[in-house]
Symmetry: C4
Subunit: 237 residues, 4 copies
């Protein structure tokens, strides 16, 4: 297997930059109350010219106080460790599957954030009843299948659910949200926003039914937001 | 279009003071859990003697860690950029509309705070069943119309709902709260208080019906609070 | 009216000590999420040998960032300002009434903490279904009457409800909790604990009915806790 | 009774190390919102070669700001104070009972965390409907009996409920969670996780019924997690 030392200076510099970014982005997860203890992980793809892409991900079981750029691990898109002194996150196979099958995706995030996970536990998609949700998600947040860890089931469930969907977030049943984006920052934003809409719409429904938003209005809000903000949807939809 | 450099030293000094204030007030929004990521915005009018008023507002898509006085942008009451290196908030047109049509308003705040937005999603006004709500709002917090971003619909909905109302807050349907005040500090306080009463009354109603407060008592509390605290209601009511 | 300068060195030293304590205790209110903005207030009695007692309380409308020992105000038990450059809290009359009518009380706290205020909005006492509640409150937390600010109604409602009750907390209807203690620290603890039990029992009841605790067990827990911890109940019960 | 000074240098060094660890771990309780004021306690066993084990626990009624390694107290497994200047936590007898009867347990934690305590108030076990719960708990979190403080009732209830259970957490009825682990860090993690699953499943059930997970899938997730992470279950199951 290739090692980082054998790669070009350009790749090594990009890996270093992404390690720093991914380490810093992990701090956003406890900041917005999306994770407890060591749960949750962020990764970003490293595009390699004339070679196989890599990605940088959190090591397994490390607390949020210990996350440094050096502790981040580097993997191939098959999930094999290329560089790093710790074992990669136990969700590495799912991240790797997404990068292999969705070439436009540059960042993946997984959390067990409370409200998104509660919708996932009921296997119920989040309806699009807020303008901010129309902006960011362009419709409901879909439910992915129940899948056990250990093979490609989780990755496949994410890819099958998000392909052809406007939503950058999927709620894996009985498990929790996975989000994608053109880079890790965008995927972290989607993780923050899916919890925000999951919580707000949960609270709204506790005392009655939210007023629906017309599909035309949803389409209009989504189109405007994606253009004005210049952020193409992660899966080039 | 006029630039800041062409204005009097007095106006430039006031703009600098307001930039500093508005930058600092943005820190109150995450502090009281009213916003996530880059959502939410605060603005304050700059009154210009012998000329057109201006207002200072947050730039678009900037995180709460990056907000400095220099990054704040200055606009005319038509929402045109007068000074600043970034694009103004996408809610600038709504703020501008309010300043044009409510001359007594000196500050505007918009958030997607969870509980206020949940009432907005159901299109249900918040009933006045707490003494602190009678103090601050003088009655229920009203619902504004559903309005798309992109023209004056949001601004018009705010102005039409709040004109003649005691409440400094309106819940725009399926969207979230906008608050007004004689200055930005007062409008931020109203944004904090509308979430506080939205949350407390939501929680109260989860297990039954709150006891109503007599209209006479509401009127008495409101009159006393507005006088004792010497804060004239924003719309000169 | 007497001024602080005319009092003995001993009283002046005690006032200085209590000012420092009361300023520091105010920081506990936002720390435990009991207040927003400038809401809430803590006071402590200053016992004066051979003279009239005083108490130290928060000034009106000052934010939690600005609270210093110097900004605290000193009042007589009639609520008249003795020392301080700001107007006392608008709840000063209620604190003063409690100190005049409950000589064993040395500290009073008022907040609008969310869950306690929600029970107050429904006018429903909090049932004693947790061992920690039996320890601290010895039974249910009672509801006080609806009372307008401006005369002695609030203070009288507090005193009438807490006299003969084990509970150091009363939920004033449609208003919020007031707590008492042998000193301000004990009253702050009661304010923290009343929100804790209000929240936990609210959550428990959202999905069914809590199991009752036998009165004998409540009595036993209360007796043990009050003795072991050596803290006589505020009203010498 | 033996004193710390009479023990070997090795034991004294280990006690010093554990005092430091237990003091630091207490900071995790307020960090993850598991406790208010002085509630909650963490202990860790000190294994003594050729002698009786000891354990280190928090002193009674000390605030989370005051917790230093020196303030931690050292007890025998009968709950007798061996070293320390303060009285041990009032839950010391329960911790001691667990250490006496579960030799494989090296750490015990007790909190009144809101959602776990709410399930305890209803006397209702938490069903295993999340993959993270299958990983960590291997099934439901069980309810322990109602027990008064003052004798071995609480300790006996913990031991009887957790013996033969996969769960490292028990919800003592009308009281709150106790958790165990091979050391204090593991027991603190269990305290964080029991609140996490209690909250998420509470929220899920507020709007319907979670989808059950097959027992086979629960067994598979639990077996994998306990092996991959190399953490033998606390009770040597």
């Amino acid at each position: 297997m290739v090692t980082l030392d054998e790669m070009s200076a350009e790749v090594r510099a990009e890996v270093a930059r992404v390690r720093d970014l991914v380490a810093r982005l992990h701090a956003e997860l406890p900041r917005w109350d999306l994770v407890v203890w060591t749960a949750g992980n962020v990764s970003q793809r490293v595009r390699v010219h004339d070679g196989e892409d890599l990605f940088v991900i959190k090591p397994s079981g490390v607390t949020y106080d210990e996350l440094t750029p050096e502790s981040m691990v580097v993997c191939t898109l098959d999930g094999e460790l290329v560089d790093g002194t710790r074992a990669p996150s136990s969700d590495t196979a799912a991240h790797a599957y997404v990068y292999r099958h969705m070439p436009e995706v540059g960042g993946v995030v997984h959390t067990h954030s409370t409200y998104a996970t509660a919708w996932a536990a009921r296997g119920e998609e989040i309806p699009c009843v807020l303008t901010m949700m129309a902006d960011e998600f362009g419709g409901p947040v879909p439910i992915g299948p129940f899948a056990l860890i250990g093979d490609d089931s989780i990755g496949r469930g994410i890819v099958e659910t998000l392909t052809g969907s406007r939503s950058p977030a999927v709620l894996m049943r009985n498990h929790g949200p996975f989000t994608i984006g053109k880079d890790a920052t965008t995927a972290v934003k989607a993780a923050v926003m899916v919890e925000e809409v999951a919580r707000t719409i949960h609270v709204a429904r506790q005392l009655g039914e939210p007023v629906p938003i017309d599909q035309n209005a949803i389409d209009s809000l989504y189109a405007r937001y994606q253009n004005v903000y210049g952020q193409p949807a992660p899966a080039q939809r």
